[in-house]
């Protein structure tokens, strides 16, 4: 068991790194796509909707393979490092889901809040920034937590495009030592622990953000 740890730990760090970077991209894409879909300009709305439909409607692995196998070849000739492919693939995929969550969260803010802000003559930008968005973010946290766990699980697929994440190291060790049961059990436990840490983190953010408001449960 001892010899397994260092290599698995390396893989875990890579997994965490990929998860963090792609989460940042996913958040950025979610906001960008939602802003586009709510824009007054029709072509922009169309672009946002197409992005979300395509990346939600196709398989994550297909998207990763597309970026990994198809882009380097003609006619694109774009060779991306596996790490970049992972970040871009995961970020775009989960950003599309994130946009749906954000849209739902914005819609969940009671209409009365818009009206009260209008009656107080707050500008639309101030209204969004100070009144609507803070409340929407609180509502978005529970589904966002679930999405982040999906992202964490999704990182395991990058092992299939040669990235040395936790799953890749597990397979490597399995082929080298044949301690199959131990390795995969340990791997499952590590993913489980990472997921629990994530949930605890999100619960902390939720508590802080909804300080003073009525509590909602995460997951």
């Amino acid at each position: 068991m001892r010899e397994l740890f260092p290599l698995l730990l390396q893989g875990t760090l890579v997994t965490i790194g990929i998860a963090v970077c792609s989460t940042l991209l996913a958040i950025a894409m979610a906001f960008a796509a939602t802003a586009a879909r709510l824009a007054p300009w029709a072509p922009l709305r169309w672009i946002g909707n197409v992005y979300v439909e395509v990346f939600r409607g196709t398989s994550l692995l297909v998207q990763l393979f597309w970026f990994f196998f198809v882009l380097p070849l003609p006619p694109f000739h774009l060779e991306l490092a596996p790490f970049t492919v992972a970040i871009v693939g995961l970020g775009l995929h989960y950003g599309a889901y994130g946009s749906e969550i954000l849209r739902g969260a914005l819609r969940s803010v009671p209409g009365g809040q818009f009206e009260a802000a209008l009656a107080l003559n707050l500008s639309p930008l101030t209204r969004m920034r100070r009144i609507i968005l803070p409340q929407a973010m609180i509502n978005a946290l529970p589904p966002a937590t679930n999405l982040m766990i999906e992202l964490l699980k999704g990182t395991s697929l990058v092992s299939l495009i040669t990235l040395s994440d936790l799953t890749f190291r597990a397979r490597q060790l399995d082929e080298a030592t044949f301690k199959t049961a131990q390795i995969f059990t340990l791997t499952l436990v590590i993913y489980f622990v990472l997921a629990q840490i994530l949930v605890a983190l999100m619960r902390y953010f939720e508590r802080r953000a909804s300080h003073g408001m009525s509590q909602r449960t995460v997951r």
Binding site: E115, A119, N121, S123, G212
Partner: protein
Amino acid sequence: MKTDTETSTPLQPDAPVMEKEMNRDPADVLSTAAGCEAEAPMVRFAGVTKCYGALTVLDRLDLEIARNEKVAIIGPSGSGKSTLLRVLMTLDPLTGGTIEVDGEPLTHMRKNGELVPASVRHLRRVRSKIGMVFQSFNLFPHMTALANTIEAPMRVHDLSRKEATDRARELLSLVGLEDKCDHYPSQLSGGQQQRVAIARALAMRPKVMLFDEVTSALDPELCGEVLNVIRRLGSEHNLTMLMVTHQMGFAREFADRVCFFSEGKILEQGTPQEFFAAPQHQRTQQFLRAVREAI
């Protein structure tokens, strides 16, 4: 809201507020800049029509509300009462007709002598003269009572935090909640929340205050505290008030004029004495009878 120079012109023959205007305190927390015409009505609805698809909710309505007048609007559900307040507050667009506030058109503006649809800036400027209190309070749940009240003055009127906070504290003590400044709405009762909502609306120094069934969502025992605040506001300060209400007793005792709405039109209006004692229309009589039976 008024300076001492304007007390000479009578508003209405039986307006009870004449005396109080002479004793205006210049440091009144609700005073706005002077400069209103004493003769023009504060709010004028002319031919106002509002349709939702095939449904006509307001039907070529004409109504004038004088400066500092307190008008109670009563009537059955669906008669268009709340819609009247909503189009005045520009929450819903008009289908037809015009509204004037303090002599200026609301949804249009005068450009080169013509009426054109209002620019955003014009709309915001005229709208700033109106404040509204809602049936469901609509306080911002992620802010304390104080934060709710200083938000708009800071963002829209560019007050410094200190100035806004001072004004907010005065208003919150006006409504009797000075010790609840740092409480969140979820920690306040319905009556307290509604009073904070009143303070929040007053913080913008409106000339017209709209009350949309503000006690309908409250427990009966909590209505009293809110109505008392409104009563005090009416008697101690100069505000034009438009109230949609089911509280007949309050309307009778407090309002200068009562309007009965039915199917998008004003069927009957008059002073409370005339109105409640001897309603003219059959529909009005029917409504008042049903209301009395319910008590």
